[in-house]
Symmetry: D2
Subunit: 314 residues, 4 copies
């Protein structure tokens, strides 16, 4: 089912599981997919994202893993990152992903864009390249891409390009931006879109209250994210914040550039989701001090959330 | 007493209190100084920092408030930010600050620096400009300045410039950097320096454990920072983290670019430290939603820390 | 006489003459002022520019040299650069410059500006700070400042801020921008402004043909620039290009970041305008190979332009 | 024959010829290859460069055109740009290019690199990815990539990675860098490498005198570049500069970001090398004023160089 503006809940940014020797770990990929979508309560997954290890896969591997995850996912929506240095590659990735059964694609702006017009023009050209029939997610991540899109620019993109159905919101700070965009919808100047939030979930407690529809991020406890979104939607404010606050020390620790993926894979391995936390070269690893810090954070979290109660590290 | 490498504890990054009409609020400045240094247990203050409202002060105002705070501070050390677009202005600020009784000055790298040699050369020239007799703090804040200093480059600066006595550490991620620098000291390749951490305190719980001497940041509860540093130094790990975790939701909220100062002044006003949270133009303000979120965070914090139990907002 | 939108011709970006020991060379300053304005046919000068050595002057020196040049300049218009990290300093510089008799001031955007709205807002705040009565020049130099202003954004600034009377145009490429702005004037959507071009004059041959009013740059033969602008205005296209092409090898050589000022001062010294090509520390110098290259370029230029026929280098 | 450190002369950065409807123009591709290598006297070509239209080709098209040009080129060396967002894609491109018969590949640093160590590490990882048996060109283009490599860093790369055989030098300013690198060779601290210069040839007159082995750039008169390099090598200094100076007004005009490719294709079409100056979408075009300016520059050049004497534009 194609992605549309009614999407909500949690779309997990999925890492790529590898064996220690650098081969893709297919069994872990399957288990991870099942875990995210069956056990953790996620509504979908986003794969081949710009911050993950997708650039370390060659074209055949990318297509293989995309197809495998989509097949395994069943009815859940899989979004495929198609940002590329040129529109020809973007088109090939996008058409290939949709043929494989993806729900939609995600596009980030190249870091050279500066003016409002440059930004809008880029996304018009991208849609012309991939085709107006593919639903897509606009990724707004100024801290990484150094491209700043005002609410007004996002509105121009949404209004001029009907196939844009979702915003991956990870501006920082970003709470007022959510309010501004929802205000545009309320005053009728922008059609509705889905807003899912990134940034490792660091502000998700308030983002849902501001009108976000959920999360698209990769925190190692996506089950908590899904629960938080439901509590918030049910108006259980205090319970939502209690849950969030218990996880915040670890969320914050995982939200470190470069180190973050190593932490995420480490915790996913400790939770039994993937077999190894190896990264394909060139990758980062956690030193002994960092591993001990993560274990300490897990042990503290376990006092509040049984999911963090893990067998001793091997 | 001049700043040296034994400095530890908390040096509060001080905001500038204004009246609603934009004039400097001298009474609040005095009260804030007393609060930070007498009540909150801070060891010093850092003023005229690059992220505060110092650039909105004219030269006479800057000198006035520097002198006033230094007089009021008594024996506590006052560090004065002297980053400037040119060395002539930097020299004038630094000599003026020291004559007024400052303990030392702080210098940030200009955002144009890229290569290792450019960075080292800049600080050599800066020391030549201000004079080798003034103790100074090296500010390492890549997220803001876009200048990346490896541990090796910091070691070169420390070894070649004896008047550099402190690092204001706010790289992100930064825990391994602290370990690397303390490792240099341990293996004898770098002389000891003081390391105080910024970034709003977002990682202070682990930074102290990695070997940092304390904090130099502006969180609205510097009394908590001081307590945390003491607990950590006393080996009270769990108590330190319990205290930190209770504050983390607000620390995280205050650590938003641009918005942060508005939150900080709002909370300091609510705590009775300053009379108004006005910023001199052009400034940011908290909208109604943001104010309500801060109040909610304070009410939740108050369950764990009585200092956050405040009279209802007026 | 205050600067207005009818300004045309050449405003020389003036270097600061120093003695070998770093003191300001007042006699050379006077001689340089006379040379630019009496002999070379320039219509004005721009001082304390962001790329010169202004940041190496302390506040008293800046004011002194500003007053001295303005007195010496007589009726010619002196524009003073007032870009500063904060509005308080900008206001102080601007008011001081105008009291000293400046014709106007020049403001560059800080490198942090990204979106169209941020840019327009910044200049509104700047005008609010310095006062709407001071005529000012908008400096558009994306290569240096990394701020990109579209023609539409420049139009917004011009229309919303009547005290903006001139554009220092140094976008690169920039010919179409001049045409776009003059098109706005032609269709009545923008009021007239003066456009003077920078970039070392590298495109001045065509910029005047596109509608620029002249040059504001620092090439060591401002007399050539003045002559070129006159030829172009008189419709002597081929003669203008012949003159320009003869100088282009040297213009191009001088238009090298960092090295440029050393070349400029070297040639001005060789022409007898200033006594020394010393830069105040930290400065750049020409190595032996570079000096020989400049001499070779001068000797080749001398075949076409007698002004380049100089006594052998000492 | 694989590329090595003895390479000299001119390697033309080749554009991709398109039909008006966006299809690759194979006949023009052949004619262009013949022209560059047979008539213009170039020693090789560089294809799929980062500034050309390579990102607009899909993978199959890239491989097709690479194979076609290599077959057509005969013994001349073809260098293939393999810069990519990830090492898997870089490896695939590099192995594919070498299998097709390329002489070597070219790698540019990603714009996120800052510190000396990051830069050296990146190229080590790249060589590990593509294999140490593939000769490669280090592209040093700070203005575009915002990565600054000091001569010392280049030396580290050259010394640690024997398969690096050439530097594409386009730092700006860059003359002293050539001298520094040749100095390293002279003092024995760096093994010899080939240095070919880019930047549209804007400084080629002096770059050859500083020790560069030639040019790797895309100016529309590569025959002039080849002649210049020969004159310079033969010690015909004045004749080399006479030739260069005649072309400089056009070289300078072509050296405009974004516009440059449109100028280049326009002139190549006017010279009969390619059938159309169309760019695949999204592309830039020359407006009427710009075309007239180029025609005027060609007519002026024709007084000195008969190759610029062209039939009237159609």
């Amino acid at each position: 089912m194609p992605l549309d503006e009614t999407a909500r809940g949690v779309y997990v940014i999925a890492p790529t599981p590898f064996h220690e020797d650098g081969r893709i770990d297919l069994a872990s990929t399957d288990r991870m997919t099942d875990f995210f979508l069956q056990e953790a309560g996620a509504d979908g997954m986003t794969i081949l994202g710009v911050m993950g290890e997708a650039p370390k896969l060659d074209a055949a591997e990318s297509l293989d893993i995309t197809q495998r995850i989509i097949r395994r996912a069943g009815k859940a929506g899989i979004i495929v990152g198609v940002s590329a240095p040129g529109f020809a590659a973007m088109r090939a990735l996008a058409r290939g992903a949709m043929e494989a059964g993806a729900a939609g694609v995600m596009i980030a702006p190249p870091s050279t864009l500066r003016t409002d017009d440059q930004i809008v023009t880029y996304f018009k050209q991208a849609v012309e390249a991939i085709g107006a029939d593919i639903p897509w997610v606009l990724q707004d991540y100024p801290l990484l891409f150094t491209v700043q899109m005002t609410p007004g620019v996002i509105r121009r993109i949404v209004q001029e390009l009907p196939s844009c159905v979702m915003l991956k919101h990870e501006d920082w700070p970003g709470l007022e931006k959510i309010s501004a965009l929802r205000g545009f919808q309320a005053d009728g100047s922008m059609r509705p879109i889905s807003i899912l939030c990134g940034n490792g979930g660091l502000f998700l407690d308030f983002e849902t209250e501001r009108g976000a529809d959920g999360a698209m991020t990769g925190y190692a406890f996506p089950d908590m994210l899904a629960e938080l979104v439901k509590l918030s939607r049910a108006g259980e404010r205090d319970r939502a914040h209690d849950l969030f606050d218990a996880h915040l020390p670890l969320i914050r620790y995982e939200q470190q550039f470069g180190v973050g993926l190593a932490v995420r894979k480490y915790v996913l391995r400790r939770r039994g989701v993937i077999a190894s936390d190896a990264q394909r070269k060139p990758g980062s690893t956690l030193g002994a001090k960092a591993r001990a810090e993560v274990e300490y954070l897990l042990s503290r979290l376990a006092r509040h959330d049984a999911r963090a109660k893990l067998a001793p590290a091997g």
